[in-house]
Amino acid sequence: METLVFALLNGAIYGLLLFMLSSGLTLIFSMMGVLNFAHASFYMLGAYLAFTITEGTSFWIALFLAPVLVGGVGMLVERYGLRKVHAQGHVAELLFTFGLAYLIDELVKIFWGRTAVNYRVPEILDFPLFTLYGAQYPAYRIFILFVAAFMLVALWYLLKKTRAGLIIQAALSHPHMVGSLGHNVPLIFMTVFGAGCALAGLAGVIGGNYFVTDPAMAVQMGPIVFVVVVVGGLGSLEGAFIAAMLIGLLQTSAISINASLADIFGFIGLGADTELGEITIASMAPMLPFLLLVLILMIRPRGLMGDREV
């Protein structure tokens, strides 16, 4: 029971963080038609900017300022980089974001050094909130939960319930029509790209001190975010949400399971002392998202909620 409760709590937090990252990516994908390889780099940029702003002022200022700055960088990248490259086709765009990811990586190493920075949880949130089955639960985790849930609701409201959201949705699927109706489509694209990057930046602000802020964080997070977007269905926010929660829960609960492959497949004769039978479920946790990716691509290539093929 207690294992289940903890796995659910931790899995939900991890899942929401993943969603915050992948929601921006999936929006940008719907718009450009290609995956933005530099997306996880904006996540890293958010964490590092938040670290620097926290050093100078306070965490609360960083919480608002860092995503805005990252969003600004994103908009500049779209306006002066991607828009120019767009004319050359998808391959050029893909290569551009690929190069950008490396560029941001190296810039971060130059500015902040190659080792992890000491980006800490703010003191006001650094206390155990409650005790559950003998283990204290840090308040900061619940704070992440709230920030992520707030963002989720705000995003949903903006896209589904406001006029601006309707225009964005229309511009993503029928840009020429929206343009003919007199809306400034390039401006919409720039805003969407900036907002997507800002969301990644926000994930960096609250995820950077929850995990670790180091130059490897983008490389480590990148593949998982792609898995979320592909499993959820390219371009589908609902799908990305389901996939993010699924992967979050899957990864954290797998660690808590004390079984080996032999315990599960014992009935077909897999012995506990064989090489395969010895593998524990916990040690397979890092592999599970990618297993899911392969399975989804085999069984349902358009993803859980997607409406087009990969």
């Binding site: 207690e2 294992t3 903890f6 796995a7 931790n10 991890y14 190493k109 190659r114 080792t115 992890a116 000491n118 155990p128 005790t131 089955y133 003998g134 283990a135 204290q136 639960y137 840090p138 929850y210 995990f211 670790v212 180091d214 130059p215 490897a216 480590q220 954290t252 660690i255 808590s256 004390n258 916990a282 040690s283 890092p286």
Partner: protein, 412 residues
């Protein structure tokens, strides 16, 4: 009179200049993670070697040659390390220093063995300052490899002796990194506990991916629900810091018996919670009584030079001191001559004498079990906490010593 002084001074200066010009550089390649998740282990070690080399150079160098430490980043990958090794050899380095990661050390031992077999006259020596898998000085021992750190079984001897003396510990949880080192630690803990305290139950034996886990909370919750009284871990670098950080967040107050609790940042992550919960077995006891002033001055100098880190890699200084002494005894900086001279060599380390056992090239030295305390002379991580020797925490060199199965092949 004045002019004679001037002339003498000028002569002295020019003599120095001539000597400096004549002194060759002795390149030693330091191959370890200098970027990424594990750089918090590689970088302070690199700085320790640089400082140790500076001391030796200021003292006249090694047979007159000045040591230059080449820092090469291997990103903790065995493959990358072999590229860097080749680069180092091409640049003329005949001495290789590495320590972080037994998987890397194993690849380097293998490559050095092959290189030396194929290139007689251009042999290189490998000084391993931290890769502690016992095999390297047992069945896989090599004449070209010298280990300057106590290996897993030796360190575990210290930990299990301490556990054996604590009647209140009935359940032990083992957690480690999923590679050869983590497996060796778990194996040593299991066999030694079964021997020393058969009544102790091992309630968990967990291996997690190396340098990939960002959040240890699920693991810590598993430890809590297992009802363990103590945890043994061989984790290092970021895996050490994040593990104890998650334990502190969950409010866990059982002893964590570690090899590398002194990893940069672990004490800071735990804060006051580290007192009497974080234990470490190592060759270093900075706040021990009757340490020479000279050694304490070195600890202070290190902190002054590298304020981000603390004096932790005492082995780096032992390694280069012993190398210097061996080379001068051999009267040559040639790797084969140095290797022969190193066998059986002893130096007065700052925390007890260290001897290089000839039969397997395993350094023998006293080990210390320390725990975190306030009010110490040399605090760490820029906190007011530091490492204090526990009662009965001194393990003399002969108690830490374990027999070896090494059958070494020596060149003629």
């Amino acid at each position: 009179m004045k002019s004679t002084v001037k002339a003498a001074l000028a002569a002295a200066v020019s003599l120095c200049a001539v000597q400096a010009a004549q002194a060759d550089t002795l390149k030693m390649a330091f191959i370890d993670p200098l970027s990424g998740a594990m750089a918090s282990s590689g970088e302070p070690a690199y700085q320790s070697f640089v400082l140790a080399a500076e001391h030796i150079n200021a003292d006249g160098g090694v047979n007159g040659d000045m040591i230059e430490i080449l820092g090469l980043d291997n990103k903790i990958s065995p493959k990358e390390s072999l590229v860097q090794l080749q680069k180092a050899i091409d640049q003329g380095a005949r001495y290789i220093i590495q320590g972080n990661g037994s998987s890397v050390a194993s690849a380097i031992i293998d490559a050095v063995n092959k290189h030396n077999a194929r290139n007689p006259g251009e042999e290189v020596l490998f000084f391993n300052y931290a890769a502690v898998t016992p095999e390297f000085t047992n069945e896989a021992c090599s004449f070209w490899h010298f280990r300057f750190d106590a290996h897993t079984d030796m360190k575990m001897n210290g930990i299990t002796d301490w556990i054996a003396s604590r009647e209140d510990i009935k359940k032990v949880y083992l957690i480690g990194q999923d590679y050869v080192h983590g497996e060796a630690v778990a194996h040593a803990a299991e066999t030694q506990l079964a021997e020393k305290r058969p009544d102790i139950e091992i309630v968990g034996n967990e291996l997690h991916p190396l340098a990939k886990v960002k959040d240890f909370t699920p693991y810590v919750q598993k430890i809590i629900s297992s009802g363990a009284d103590a945890v043994i871990t061989g984790n290092w670098g970021q895996d050490m810091t994040l593990l104890v950080k998650a334990a502190a967040d969950a409010g866990q107050e059982i002893p964590y018996l570690t090899f590398y609790g002194g990893s940069n940042g672990a004490v800071a992550a735990l804060g006051e919670g580290a007192i009497d919960t974080l234990y470490q077995v190592s060759e270093l006891a900075a706040n021990m009584e009757d340490v020479s002033d000279e050694q304490n001055a070195l600890v202070e100098e290190y902190k002054e030079r590298f304020p981000d880190y603390d004096y932790y890699y005492h082995r780096a200084f032992v390694t280069l001191d012993m190398f210097d002494k061996a080379a001068e005894e051999a009267g040559s900086n040639d790797p084969i001559a140095v290797a022969h001279a190193l066998e059986g060599m002893s130096v007065e380390g700052g925390y007890g004498a260290a001897t290089m056992r000839a039969e397997d090239h395993q350094l023998q030295q006293p080990l210390y079990i320390t725990t975190v305390a306030a009010d110490v002379t040399y605090p760490v991580d820029n906190t007011n906490l530091g490492w204090r020797l526990v009662e009965g925490g001194v393990i003399p060199a002969d108690a830490a010593e374990t027999p070896t199965t090494c059958e070494m092949e020596r060149p003629d």
